[in-house]
Subunit: 80 residues, 7 copies
Amino acid sequence: MSVQKNVNVSRPLDALGKSLNSQVLIKLKGGREFRGVLKSFDMHMNLVLNDAEELENGESSRRLGVVLIRGDNIVYISPG
Amino acid sequence: MSVQKNVNVSRPLDALGKSLNSQVLIKLKGGREFRGVLKSFDMHMNLVLNDAEELENGESSRRLGVVLIRGDNIVYISPG
Amino acid sequence: MSVQKNVNVSRPLDALGKSLNSQVLIKLKGGREFRGVLKSFDMHMNLVLNDAEELENGESSRRLGVVLIRGDNIVYISPG
Amino acid sequence: MSVQKNVNVSRPLDALGKSLNSQVLIKLKGGREFRGVLKSFDMHMNLVLNDAEELENGESSRRLGVVLIRGDNIVYISPG
Amino acid sequence: MSVQKNVNVSRPLDALGKSLNSQVLIKLKGGREFRGVLKSFDMHMNLVLNDAEELENGESSRRLGVVLIRGDNIVYISPG
Amino acid sequence: MSVQKNVNVSRPLDALGKSLNSQVLIKLKGGREFRGVLKSFDMHMNLVLNDAEELENGESSRRLGVVLIRGDNIVYISPG
Amino acid sequence: MSVQKNVNVSRPLDALGKSLNSQVLIKLKGGREFRGVLKSFDMHMNLVLNDAEELENGESSRRLGVVLIRGDNIVYISPG
């Protein structure tokens, strides 16, 4: 498939693999933000964070520990 | 598939299996929250809770007993 | 598939089978609620209620008799 | 599939078959309501009504005659 | 499939075939309305109108000539 | 499939082929409008415009040059 | 398939391949904008940007470095 031919770089979800066991920032569709250590993900972008906290204005508003986030809520994922 | 190769850790929905018969907190897209004992789930994240209650501001607002929640409403699931 | 292995309990939609011919409470995405006797359902959570009524603040606001509810509107289903 | 085993009653869309050539009430996601004679439907719940009218507060607000309603708009369908 | 057995009448999209080359009224999810001559459609309800105009309060507000409308916007289609 | 039998006219996306290398007007779901020269499209209605500009009240508000528009945002496409 | 026959030009996602390692502007559904260097994408339009920043009124409001954007949020992608 020609999309794949053009993309001889790694694919987007492969980039997530590099963030396993590292801290990531997750932005959700309603504006909600989470920070935690990425433990797993699947092709739907469902993902599990450890040591997760929900953020408001960049500050921790709720400590969740382990959390499974449903992928269809996600806007973006960024290391850090 | 390369996503799977990177993910030699468990997948997100496998993490749910560890919460079977334990209490979980469920956050839904409209902000609604539920707490109950996870009895089953499927790949769409449809799930059944026992001893479930709906929460408002962290307090129980409605006792539901058994409840089947449709997976596409879910934002996140967290033990506790 | 590993999701299935973890779930050696019944699956969520199987739990609906136990409510056939019993009264259920249905919560829809816009907040609408229905109560009626569950007569059938399918894998999309489309379902048919008999003796159904729409509720407002827990009180009957409209008697519908038989009603087919489209599954994608559903937030949760609970016996009672 | 176990969903089917539990459902040895008819399935939800089969119930629609019983309403063919009869008058039905259709509630749509935005609150819009239609009443008309059900002439056909498919597995997406797309359906055709004859002698259809759009209702406001239960009163006819627009006569449409034949109308094809796209299934993904539907909240519920009820005889009458 | 039992849905098909019940529906020994024509299916909803077949009804659209009868409106080819005739004027139809299209209602979209945001409330927008179009009137034009139906030239083609597909199973997603994508459709092409000729001599199309957008309507506001039933009056022409914009002449579009040929227009391709994406099916997932459609609430209903009615001859006339 | 009977839909295809009725449609012995061209299908809606075929009509887009006639607009390749011509100017088109694109209306998006939020009300946003674009005008540009259609260079390619696919079955999801993803499309590429050249010499594209975003419009407000029919006037150019932003020149984008080449732009790839994701198909699921589209309400309608019209030549001109 | 006739769509492909008409499109003997490149397909929309192929055009993204030309922007690999170049700066792109991404507009999301809620109005959010990002600018960064496109490093990868897939057929869902999931994409990874390097040196990414979120923009407000065209000015940088947040530096994200590497960011994975989920494709279903995207309205358009434009070089620059």
